[in-house]
């Protein structure tokens, strides 16, 4: 069984996808159709590059260390949130989802 499926066991996680460095969906699990997972993977890939670009600029303008390379990002909505770490992206539902645990788990699995 794929290791990324264990993320789905965490409260609130509805979808988890693993994508290649070019945004191609390698595997995805959860409550979402394949076509939407392909779009989610592409979005997460593009969004990661955009965040990376912004973090690079922040570091460049401020001279501060510690921002780059960014480990991940979270876009938090009222009901749904999207989290990306490395080549993984997941959709989390609910304001009380254990975000710390989800991010730690994503970070650990993204290193494998």
């Amino acid at each position: 069984m794929s290791m990324i499926r264990r993320i789905l066991a965490l409260d609130g996680v509805n979808v988890i996808c693993h994508f290649r460095d070019d945004g191609y969906l390698l595997e995805g699990y959860g409550l979402m159709g394949r076509d939407d997972m392909v779009r989610l993977a592409q979005f997460a890939h593009d969004y990661r590059r955009m965040i990376q670009g912004n973090a690079d600029q922040l570091a460049m303008f401020t001279g501060m260390r510690g921002w780059t390379p960014p480990h991940g990002w979270v876009v938090r909505g009222a009901v749904q949130s999207v989290c990306g770490v490395g080549n993984l992206v997941c959709i989390v539902e609910g304001a009380d989802a254990p975000m710390n645990e989800i991010l730690l788990e994503l970070r650990e699995i993204s290193h494998w």
Binding site: N54, Q57, L58, M60, F61, T62
Partner: protein, 133 residues
């Protein structure tokens, strides 16, 4: 301040719109409803708000680091697409901010066909310099 109708008089204007700094579409004029609709304009307005914010961050950082003034505040951001361009401006808004006005007008934008797009005229109208006859 430019009006949507003035913007629609620009060469190859396909749509003109007003939007909040946070991206919500407030008002619009559409010349070709079969090619661009209100829902697309709303997404476009959100996209343009994001680009204005990023360009503003870049101008701020650039001016601080290089001491080369003249970018901040951003007057217009233009996306040159494959066949169309979109030009958005917060010029009047920034002017009024400088005058300490608390009630600020919306940002404005215009979608133009690339072949006949006159970017300088679009900037001039958006900056309220010269109304199109």
């Amino acid at each position: 301040m430019a009006t949507l109708d003035e913007l629609m008089r620009l060469p190859a204007a396909m749509a003109a719109f007003e939007f909040r700094g946070s991206g919500e579409l407030l008002d619009q004029r559409i010349a070709y409803p079969e090619r661009i609709n209100e829902t697309t304009l709303d997404l476009l307005a959100h996209m343009c708000a994001a680009n204005m914010s990023i360009a503003t961050m870049q101008a701020r950082g650039w001016e601080k680091v290089t001491a080369m003034k003249g970018f901040y505040p951003i007057q217009e951001f233009t996306l040159v697409g494959f066949d169309w361009s979109v030009v958005v401006s917060g010029f009047r808004r920034e002017q009024l901010k400088n005058e300490d006005k608390t009630s600020l007008p919306p940002l404005m934008g215009v979608v133009l066909g690339n072949e006949k797009a006159d970017y300088e005229a679009a900037f001039a109208v958006l900056e309220g310099q010269e109304p199109i006859p």
